[in-house]
Symmetry: D2
Subunit: 355 residues, 4 copies
């Protein structure tokens, strides 16, 4: 294909934070649209780390991205590096962009990555942001790619676990992702037929869980599936210890709470029911994206390039209803989107006394 674009300018692209299915669709969207308009696209490796260390992935062309939207992860790699915790981090990024002839930057990531993008914008970098979080908890958009894949992945496992729980009269506790918001537990739990769902939005009471388990037993339903967000907290904080590891943004990235493990013991002790747990972990973000996440990724990538082409920076592309729109980066980062009260009320209809 010969392109006679109006500009020979170049766009840098990075993917920051944890990986999410749909990232490669975004990259494809960016490359196709950019090439059509006559821009070059240069990928940097592993988020901000690649820009700080001038670690270039390479020019992205049409052939390379043709089929990547059907794959999980990110071809560029990702990391949780915070440039503002690194000596002259900002300066190094700006130098790296200049050195590699990048006129523009598209940063794909969560609130941390986009927070950095916003600071860079204020420092003069022509940047556009694309929201990404598998937890679906960004306030500046209706939804983020990766989440739909994650809820389906988790739902399948939760649904499958019914057969083994039922065969052995067991309680199975399933821990899913979600440190600050319980969207994933909410949707995968409801969809997968969980009998109790525990969200970070509301401290949980072991007694209430055990009451449900006992109630189900009285109704001759000798098994229960409990879905718990990894960020869930008990009413009484003292019954288990934490051990944690933080990234350079101050986020907890590894928390050895053994939460599910402790919950299992409590349930066994209080109900007498044989109880086991499963931690879904990385399997929730692994593998191919769903159709929704692929199409959303392709749309967001294209829209970000349109912003670049309109010289409209310091913005993030987002989803409102069925439309792709834009919002100021600063506004987008204001608050976390947690599960609202009415959704929790709705959830309880299906996961408490009725059954």
């Amino acid at each position: 294909m010969t392109i006679t674009g109006k500009k020979q300018k170049q766009i840098a692209v990075i993917t920051g934070g944890g990986d999410a299915p749909g990232l490669n669709a975004v990259i494809k969207g960016i490359v196709i649209k950019a090439k059509t308009l006559g821009y070059d696209v240069l990928g940097f490796k592993q988020g901000w780390k690649g820009l700080i260390e001038d670690s270039v992935y390479g020019k992205l062309d049409l052939d390379e991205v043709e089929n990547i939207h059907m794959t999980g992860g990110t071809i560029l790699g990702a990391s949780r590096t915070n440039p503002y915790q690194i000596d002259k981090g900002e300066e190094k990024i700006i130098e790296s962009l200049k050195k590699n002839n990048c006129d523009y930057l598209i940063a794909i990531g969560g609130d941390d990555t986009l927070g950095v993008a916003n600071k860079l914008y204020k420092a003069g970098v022509k940047v556009v942001g694309i929201p990404k979080t598998i937890d679906n908890d960004l306030s500046g958009t209706d939804c983020t790619f990766g989440f739909d894949t994650a809820i389906n992945r988790a739902m399948e496992q939760i649904e499958n676990l019914h057969t083994t729980a039922k065969s052995h009269d067991r309680v199975i506790v399933v821990e899913v992702m979600g440190r600050h918001a319980g969207w994933l537990a909410l949707d995968s739990g409801l969809a997968g037929g969980a009998h109790y769902i525990i969200l970070p939005e509301e401290k949980f009471d072991v007694k209430s869980i055990c009451d449900l388990v006992k109630k189900r037993k009285e109704d001759n339903k000798n098994y229960s599936i409990i879905v718990i967000s990894e960020g869930a907290k008990p009413v009484d904080d003292n019954w288990f210890e934490d051990e944690e590891e933080k990234d350079s943004f101050g986020n907890v990235v590894l928390k050895k709470r053994n939460l599910a493990n402790h919950l299992v013991k409590e349930i066994e002790k209080r109900t007498g029911a044989e109880t086991r747990h499963v931690v879904l972990g990385h399997t929730q973000r692994a593998g191919k994206p769903t159709a929704f996440d692929r199409v959303l990724g392709l749309r967001l990538g294209v829209e970000a390039v349109e912003l670049v082409d309109k010289n409209d920076f310091g913005k993030m592309v987002n989803v409102r209803g069925t439309e792709i729109q834009t919002v100021d980066l600063s506004e987008a980062l204001e608050k976390n989107r947690v599960v609202p009260v009415e959704r929790i009320k709705h959830m309880k209809l299906f996961t408490r006394s009725p059954f």
Copy 2:
């Protein structure tokens, strides 16, 4: 569970039109919410047919619906019966409701089913509608359940077909659902990596398809996947014959166009490439719903009962952004939601010359 509801009134439920994954989640949502508020729920068989013929499925209780949201189809059965084509159809429905002590009616269906619901409302029936169309083409809502399942089902097949097309240097034409709107072809085609997508919204030109096939061959890409909506029409209408069957609403339900079949022959003749076709057919609406469709179904069902409880009839529940809202039935039925020009433009970025 003992319920001491404020009312002992009863809600009738029917599911009309073609089945869609998520229908059973809606039914579960209705039953749980209704029971919690003290209503009984009575299911009628096979849409309007069941009401006309006084064919009762039975009272729906908590145990029966516990796990149905994880299953496809509709436990009530569905049909394409139009009461207004049947002698005293309306009268029979009203009698049936009265005879079975149903104070309210929740009708789940597409524009035909909801059109009937609206007429019944005008005739005095206390009715609430829930939108359903696997084609996602209802104007009164952002999206409908069943569609997300269908695009994933179609996408998987389209993506899988790459391996066999590539191994044999073949063109494969995949026909997907969509008579009036191309949403399903659009999203499943983009997500599944189709090289050309044909929608009902725009008449197609065989030459343009063949040009793409030839262009890919020149680029050493000896295979192509073409996705075509069943409702697609060629620029030149005369190159194949139609044979059709209509339902009682005047909709074409079976069209023996052999569209894919004819397209295959044209492509072979004009490009010399071995070409095959696959008609995905009923497999697109069969089987378990995705997480999205399950949760959406549960939410719509609950909301419909809330309308009943508020004595707010002649309404349809719908989706706007992340919210479940309501709209007048008459307003909801005004026009079909087709793929807009900007989405077609977006699609062409990925499915024409670039690759």
Copy 3:
């Protein structure tokens, strides 16, 4: 990786006939084992066609094959070319091997491909064969790769179709692969809960099918799933016409029998039940292989290279119980493996009167 093998000899590899999931696992097995022993591996494109036309895919190395066993199709491409129908076909193959410094040949394919391999062996080519047929009908081995993937693919669709058939009180006829042997219909039909299965091994009687449909209706089971092999034949041959296309081996590769289509009309006419059909077609052989097919492919590929290394030619590797063994090519080709009487009897237990 530096290999200091005992020989610097080279093995040619081709994949013939229709593609089957597992072919790439075989290729990976060949390359890894060959490289470990110090051989080079040269791939030819599209089966015998590539050897006849000296069309080289390229040297296969470790990096290229690392992940291919997880993908469907064949990286080498496949075709149904019969060298013995082409002027000086055999001569050209031998020249091609010589010109490209190939000392040995591993041919992966069905009875046609292996029949050619056997003739080449008799003409002096040092050849080893690996059996491949998605229909599982080769007599010289307990099973072939690709088949397990195909039965799971078909089973999922058949099982899914229950929901839509049941919702609409329909009969659904599902046509699956299998021209001469009904293994695929047998296993996918039994596994997917088909109510009637039609194999090529036994002429079918429409009356018997309709009796089952009626019997189920009497038992309040208003839907039926009928699975039919594409090679099935009715007792009375005259009720539909054939239109066929043959490959260079004389095999029918495309048969426009519209078998399922005709069956649908007959069932509707005789039972009054709304009847639809689905032709699974290429979706059965498309996409990723199952675990069984991947592991089997890796084992067969390794074993074939061991034969080469032992100078043991004119053989085919095969499966007997849990072992990979070898058999003379001539012996392996003797007869087709059809579904035996006792399996048909077993099948009828589950698909006739009981339900």
Copy 4:
């Protein structure tokens, strides 16, 4: 359906040990064949426990089992109760059979369950056994149902984890089932593209694993997937502690080794690579069976009833090649089937130095 069988005798059925996908197919096979021959079938709950406590599931009829072969788990429930550890256990079982008019017993289970079956046979009970183990380690049969499902379930997760491991330059350790034999790790690891596989058959050396991780890094492959059987043991036994729970057969059913957890720390320490682990746990045995396991279950169930009908007791049905055969229970229980040396050698070709 009216059956005029030659006998009005009754067969008791139990499912013992851990659940495995395919159990319900076996039950369906038993019921259909039994009913056809004129036997009744009585299910007991939860393995030997149900027989000891006279806890009857109920008579199994055709309608109840029609679709169960498509579901996971066991409708009868399962437990790990050893009657010979219970006072008068054997006596109670014999009484229970007599009291419920059961002339015959079909016991489905692993070596523990079948060991009990053999003792009962020697005590005069007319018993037939059907082998079941998800670990595939029974010596008396080529393969057992449930295993094929488990390897596919594990493979999908292992394959999916590539995308996230690669995006973050991580090592991911995946723990799969298999206490005494490594079949599941072997097949799921090979199929899922694991870079190192650890079996219980061979003590593992952390150094060798770390060497591979480093070697891959040198080759610019910054990620590795390590699959480990839960029963794996390190060369040096002292680097982690065990905590275990045994069932009444003396089998370890819960081993809090935190094996994967410890391995993660060692790999991080020695290679510097960010390392995470995933324990697949119950998800491997949960959910629907594959086509293979469904068909195998249906065949084994039928064959077991044929043995009953031939008055041929003290036997187990088994698989040899493509055939269902029979073997003495005593012979079948002789030794565990572990992964043989040649398969380990084959595995190492794909999971050590080459890549």
